[in-house]
C-alpha cells in the first residue's frame, strides 16, 4: 500500500518486470521481440534491398542508353547474362521485373511501413510494445526469408522471374514460356507468399496495437497523423493482400497442377498446350484488386511521416488536421474501387471503364486536400530546413508533379494512347516511387536519433538530398515526353526502331542522371552506417517535437518508458502556441501547466476547467481566447 507514491525517475526502471529477461546476443539482435530492434532490422534489410534493386536499375539503364556498346566489365560480374559485355534480352526482362518487385514490396512496403510502423506505433501511442511481439518478430523473419529467396533466384541456371512485377499470365503461368518462367518464377511466387504472410502478421498487429494499446488520454483524435497513416495502411494491406494470395494460389495450380484458371488456346514452341477455357483477364482483376491498394500502402506511410516532419519543422500546427485524417480515410476507401483503371485496354466494357474513370478521378480530391494542407502548413511557418524537412518538402513536390499525370492516365480515352508507355513509368516513379522513398528518407533522417541515439551528419544529408532530388527529376521527367511519343515500356532496345531513334540522346541523359543519383546514395549509406558509431550523441528531444517518443530516454530498453507511461492531454501539434514561452508543448504536458497559452476550446466543453481558466485569465489580465 505504501508503495503508491513512487517517483518514476530513470533510476527505478529496474523495478519493472520487463527487465528481468536476461538478453543474449541472439535474443537482443537477432530474434528480438522488441519493436525498436525489429524496426531497425526492417530498415537495414530494406536499405540493402534498395541498393540491390537500384543496382539492377542501373544495369538496365546502361542497356537502354548504349544498346550497341560493349561493357566487358558486365561480363565479369554477370557471366553468361552479359556475354560479350552486352546484357541479354532475357536478363533485361529479369532486371526490370526484380527491380520493380523489390522496390514496391521489399523496400517501399516492408522497408517503409515495417520500419516506421514498428518504431513509431508503440512510441507515439504510448505502449510498451506491440500487441503481439512474437507475431512482430515472425513478420520480420518471414520478410527476411522472402528477400533471401528473391535474391537466390539470381543464382540459378534459368535466371530470375521475368514476367514483369505484375506477373501476368501466361508468361508467369506457363513454365516453358521464357527462361524466367521456370524456376525463377517459382521462387518469385514462394518469396511472395512468405512476404504476404509477413505483411498480414505485421498489419494485424499494427491495427490491433493502435486500437487497443493507447495510453491514457490518447483518443483517436489526439493521435499523430503518422499513426493515422500507419493504421489505415495496415487496414488496406489486411484487406488486399489476402486477395493476392488467392490470385497466386490459382496461378500456382495453373503452373503445376495443370488447371486452366488463366490459360487458354496457347501454343508454345509449336506445341499446343492442353489448357483450355481460362481467362488471363481474371488474373488481372485479382492482381489489381491488390495492386492498386498496394500503391497506397506504399504512399500513405510516407504521407504520414511527412505530415509530422513538416509540422514540426515549420513550427506550426498541421493545417487541417481533421481534413488530413478524412482524406486518408477517403483514399483508403477509394483505393479499393479503382483497380479497373489498370485494365482500360483489356476490352473492358466502356461503361465499366467510365465507372472506374470516375472513381479514379475522385481520388484526386483527397490527394489534393493533402497537398494543399502541406503547403498551407509551410505558409508563413518558422521553417527549419533540416535534412528531414528537405526530404519532406521533396516528397510533396513529387507527390504533386507525379499526381498531376495521374489525372491524364485515369482518363479511359487518354489511357488508350498512354497505356504501357514511358508516360506510365514516369507517372508512378514520381508519385509512388520517388515520393515514397523521399518520405522514407525523411523518416530516417528525422527519427535516426530515436533509433540509434546519435545524430546523422547534416551536410552529407543536404548533399544527398539535392543530388537525389535533381537526379530523380532528370531521370523521370523526360520520360513523360517519350511516353507521349509512344515509346513502350520494358523494351530491350526500342531505339532500334526508326521512329524512336531520336530518343537515344535522351536515354543517355537519363542514364547519366540515374548513375549520378545512385552515387549520391553512397553519401547516405556512409552517413547512415558510420553515424551509428561516430555520430554526435543525440539529446532526448533533438527537434523540439511534441510526440511521445521524444519523452523516452535516449538509451533503449524493452518497455520504452522507465516509469509509468506518460498520459496524454493534448493533440500533437501545439507548435508556436501564442502565450507559451517555448514554441512547442509536448502531448503529455497538462493544461494546468500552460495557463498562459490555453484556449477555451482546448477544454472541449469541460465547464469546470473553463471556469478555472477564465478566473486565471482575469487574475492575470489575459483575454479569453477561443475560436468558437
Amino acid at each position: 500500500m505504501s508503495t503508491t507514491v513512487i517517483s518514476h525517475g530513470a533510476a527505478d526502471h529496474d523495478s519493472h518486470d520487463h527487465h528481468h529477461h536476461h538478453e543474449t546476443f541472439l535474443t537482443k539482435y537477432v530474434f528480438s521481440q522488441d519493436h525498436k530492434m525489429i524496426a531497425k532490422q526492417f530498415l537495414i534489410t530494406g536499405i540493402i534491398m534498395a541498393v540491390f534493386a537500384m543496382v539492377l536499375s542501373i544495369l538496365f539503364r546502361i542497356q537502354i542508353a548504349w544498346p550497341d556498346a560493349e561493357f566487358p566489365i558486365l561480363e565479369v560480374f554477370l557471366g553468361k547474362w552479359a556475354e560479350g559485355g552486352r546484357i541479354k534480352p532475357e536478363f533485361f526482362l529479369s532486371l526490370v521485373t526484380i527491380h520493380g518487385t523489390m522496390m514496391v514490396f521489399f523496400v517501399l512496403t516492408a522497408g517503409l511501413s515495417g520500419t516506421f510502423s514498428n518504431l513509431l506505433i508503440p512510441y507515439q501511442i504510448g505502449a510498451r510494445d506491440m500487441a503481439s511481439p512474437l507475431m512482430n518478430m515472425l513478420s520480420y523473419w518471414f520478410f527476411f526469408v522472402a528477400c533471401i529467396i528473391m535474391i537466390a533466384s539470381f543464382f540459378i541456371e534459368s535466371g530470375p522471374a521475368s514476367a514483369g512485377w505484375t506477373i501476368y499470365p501466361p508468361l508467369s503461368a506457363v513454365p516453358t514460356a521464357i527462361a524466367g518462367s521456370g524456376l525463377g518464377m517459382t521462387l518469385w511466387l514462394a518469396s511472395m507468399v512468405l512476404f504476404i504472410a509477413s505483411q498480414v502478421l505485421g498489419g494485424t498487429n499494427y491495427v490491433s496495437t493502435i486500437l487497443n494499446m493507447r495510453t491514457k488520454g490518447m483518443d483517436l483524435w489526439k493521435m499523430p497523423l503518422t499513426i493515422w497513416a500507419f493504421f489505415l495502411t495496415a487496414i488496406v494491406g489486411l484487406l488486399s493482400f489476402p486477395v493476392l494470395v488467392s490470385a497466386v494460389v490459382l496461378l500456382i495450380f495453373d503452373r503445376s497442377a495443370g488447371t486452366s484458371f488463366y490459360l487458354s488456346d496457347l501454343v508454345v514452341g509449336g506445341q499446343i498446350l492442353p489448357n483450355e477455357g481460362g481467362s488471363p483477364i481474371l488474373f488481372q482483376h485479382l492482381f489489381w484488386f491488390l495492386g492498386h491498394p498496394e500503391v497506397y500502402i506504399v504512399v500513405m506511410p510516407a504521407l504520414g511521416l511527412t505530415s509530422e516532419v513538416i509540422s514540426t519543422n515549420a513550427r506550426k500546427p498541421i493545417f487541417g488536421y481533421h481534413a488530413m485524417v478524412y482524406s486518408l480515410v477517403g483514399i483508403t476507401v477509394l483505393s479499393f474501387i479503382v483497380w479497373g483503371h489498370h485494365m482500360f485496354v483489356t476490352g473492358m466494357s466502356p461503361f465499366l471503364g467510365g465507372v472506374f474513370m470516375i472513381t479514379t478521378l475522385i481520388i484526386a480530391v483527397p490527394s489534393a486536400v493533402k497537398a494543399f494542407n502541406y503547403i498551407a502548413t509551410l505558409w508563413r511557418g518558422n521553417i527549419r530546413f533540416t535534412p528531414a524537412m528537405m526530404f519532406a518538402i521533396g516528397m510533396v513536390s513529387f507527390f504533386v508533379s507525379g499526381g498531376v499525370t495521374g489525372i491524364f492516365l485515369g482518363n479511359a480515352a487518354l489511357d488508350i494512347n498512354l497505356h504501357d508507355t514511358y508516360f506510365v513509368v514516369a507517372h508512378f516513379h514520381l508519385v509512388m516511387g520517388s515520393a515514397s522513398i523521399f518520405g522514407m528518407l525523411c523518416g530516417v533522417y528525422h527519427w535516426y536519433p530515436k533509433m540509434f541515439g546519435r545524430m546523422m551528419d547534416e551536410r552529407l544529408g543536404y548533399l544527398h538530398f539535392w543530388m537525389t532530388f535533381i537526379g530523380a527529376y532528370l531521370v523521370f521527367f523526360p520520360m513523360h515526353f517519350m511516353g507521349i511519343d509512344g515509346v513502350p515500356r520494358r523494351y530491350y532496345s526500342f531505339t532500334d526502331f526508326p521512329f524512336m531513334e531520336k530518343w537515344v540522346s535522351v536515354n543517355i541523359l537519363v542514364t547519366w542522371a540515374a548513375i549520378i543519383s545512385a552515387l549520391a546514395q553512397v553519401a547516405f549509406l556512409w552517413n547512415f552506417f558510420s553515424s551509428i558509431w561516430l555520430g554526435k550523441r543525440a539529446p532526448q528531444n533533438p527537434w523540439n517535437s511534441n510526440t511521445l517518443e521524444w519523452t523516452t530516454p535516449v538509451e533503449h530498453f524493452h518497455g520504452n518508458w522507465p516509469g509509468e507511461i506518460p498520459e496524454v492531454h493534448r493533440w500533437p501539434y501545439d507548435y508556436s502556441k501564442p502565450g507559451h514561452d517555448e514554441d512547442f508543448i509536448p502531448q503529455h504536458i497538462p493544461y494546468s501547466q500552460t495557463m498562459s497559452s490555453n484556449h477555451l476550446h482546448d477544454f472541449e466543453g469541460d465547464e469546470e476547467a473553463i471556469r478555472i481558466q477564465k478566473a486565471w485569465n482575469k487574475e492575470n489580465d489575459r483575454e479569453d481566447v477561443t475560436f468558437h
Binding site: A131, S132, N212, P242, G277
Partner: protein, 194 residues
Amino acid sequence: MDKMMDSNEQLVQSRKAKKFNLWLGMIGMFMMFAALSSGFIVYTASGIDKGIKTILPYAFIYSTVAIVLSSAAMHLAYTAAKAGQLGRQKLMLLITIALGIVFFVSQINAWSTLIDRGIYFQNPNASQSFIYVFTWLHLMHIIAGLIVLLRCYMGAARPISTDKNQFRMEIATIFWHFLDLLWIYIYVFLLLNQ
C-alpha cells in the same frame, strides 16, 4: 501491489489485443475466400459453357452436419472450461477434434465423388476446378484449426493455469466457429451457383 496492478492491467490489455488480432486475421482469411468467390463469378459469367453444371456431392451435407456438431461440442468444451470442469472440457475437445477429422475425410470423399463423375481438377471449365480450390483452401484452414484444438487439449491435460486455459479456449472457440461459418458460406455460395 502497484506493480501487480500494472502488470495485471497490461495482461488484460494485451489479451484484448491478441483476441482482436484473431478477428483481424479472420477478416483477412475471409478476404481470400471473397476473392475466390468474385473470381468464380467473373469466370463463370465469361461463357455459357462455364459453371458448376453438376449436383454437388452429398458428402458436403455430411460434412456440414459434422462441422456444425463439432461447433456445438466446442461450445460445450468452452463452457466447461469456464466452469472449471477440466474432465468435461477434455472430453468435449476430443469430440470436436474427432468431428473435425470426420469433416476432413468427408470433404476428401466429396472429391472422389466428383472424380467418379469425371469432374476433374484439371478442367477446361475452371468453374468446376474452383470447387476443389474452395474446399482445399478451407481444409488447409481446418488443419490449422485442428492444431489449435490439439494445443488446447494438451494445455488442459497438463494442466496449465485456469486463467491461461480459459483464454486459450476462448481464442480456439472463436476460430473454430469461424471455420464452421466459413464452410457454410462456401457451401451456400456453391449451392446458389449450382
